[in-house]
Amino acid sequence: MSEHHHGDGHGHHHDNHFTDMEARVKALETVLTEKGLIDPEAIDAIVETYETKVGPRNGARVVAKAWSDPEFADWLKRDATAAIASLGFAGRQGEHMRAVFNTPDTHNLVVCTLCSCYPWAVLGLPPVWYKAPPYRSRAVIDPRGVLAEFGLELSAEKKIRVWDSTAELRYLVVPERPEGTEGFSEDALAELVTRDSMIGTGLALSREAAR
């Protein structure tokens, strides 16, 4: 990939953009505010929502409940949107949910090769790498190489299923429940569920790792 912009006459490395972008966004926000088109306090409210309320702990609650409650797991398989909404998680970028379950045979991995589709309602805002060209280009052709970058080596026999989110369905991976967690409460189980395990770039933590 090119290290520099060729089209906009700036030519900074993209890690050093902040000053340009700060000015650009400030101008945009000022114009829109002067025109009465945006409410700066609404922007604060949106940011606060995704910094403090809507994040991967939501998804962890869904997974922990699916591990603990077979009826809920079955509902999640059949109608993920409704099952997830029953725990209070719904809304933007979670309108049409699908839950895909890892099994001893198959590992699931979610990507959006065309943009940045991600299940905000259960995972919050996507990480930078999820939206960036390296992950989006490689997940569909070389998932084992991708997983290796996350420190995850799957056995050679394990099947890998990659879900490219090309429409408005948003995918949540339900990782396998770690061994030795019989009798764990839902709260304790939720602690084992990482964000990456719900994208497929990781596994749930073992009970030892969680300590």
Binding site: G7, V31, I43, G91, R92, W129, I141, D164
Partner: protein, 219 residues
């Protein structure tokens, strides 16, 4: 369109480099970019599909080197100008110069939580039965429209199997260009990696896309 956004299967784009304990935002302006983009989406002046098309229409060198929030900001400027809300002169001076178009709705702070919680469902009823059934073998179309589509290049003219009929949804290829929602049935279609990538493909890999009915042909 065969734009810079259609990345599946490209090589040479570098390491993924996941960050440890990654923050949600890497600069204050990214927070403002998120909030401004969502606020302007609430005008109701354009669709999600049109905004995606604005992003993928950025020049490839910019698209590939920009952070995602920068892509959002650049595309938002295009949309705001296209729909008459602001002018380039205003962006250049950083101040209002003329009264622009009035939106249907301005997102106020007290509305934000409700709007985010409601989201924007895209499922719509259609009055005909699905043309394809679960288990049916289908071939994706070969086409290269200059307009918006959600059929990635790597998955064109490929034979796969319908795994699920997912309901009926707004058709982005039309909706992005103001041609109406024209909903269609949507299918999850799964391909063996060998069909998609050919020689050297990972034999344990299958890849699925969600494909609108008009992307698919009988085999």
């Amino acid at each position: 369109m065969n734009g810079p956004h259609d990345l599946g299967g490209q090589h040479g784009l570098g390491p993924i480099a996941p960050e440890k304990d990654e923050p949600y935002f890497h600069a204050e302006w990214e927070k403002r970019a998120l909030g401004i983009t969502l606020s302007c989406g609430a005008f109701g002046a354009w669709t999600l599909d049109e905004s995606r098309h604005a992003r993928e229409s950025l020049p490839p060198p910019i698209y590939l080197s920009a952070s995602y929030y920068e892509i959002w900001v650049r595309a938002l400027e295009t949309l705001l100008k296209r729909h008459g809300f602001i002018t380039q002169a205003e962006l250049d001076t950083g101040h209002m110069l003329e009264k622009g178009r009035e939106p249907k709705r301005v997102l106020k702070a007290e509305m934000a939580a409700g709007v985010l919680a409601k989201g924007g469902p895209c499922d719509r009823p259609v009055d005909r039965p699905p043309r394809f059934a679960v288990g049916q073998t289908v071939r994706t179309k070969n086409f290269n429209p200059e307009t918006h589509t959600r059929l990635p290049r790597y998955a064109r003219a490929k034979v796969g199997v319908v795994e699920a009929v997912q309901g009926s949804f707004v058709f982005p290829d039309d909706n992005a260009h103001g041609k109406g929602e024209n909903p269609q049935w949507l299918y999850t279609v799964v391909f063996d990696a060998g069909e998609v990538w050919g020689e050297g493909a990972d034999p344990t890999l299958t890849v699925s896309i969600d494909a609108w009915e008009s992307y698919l042909e009988r085999v």
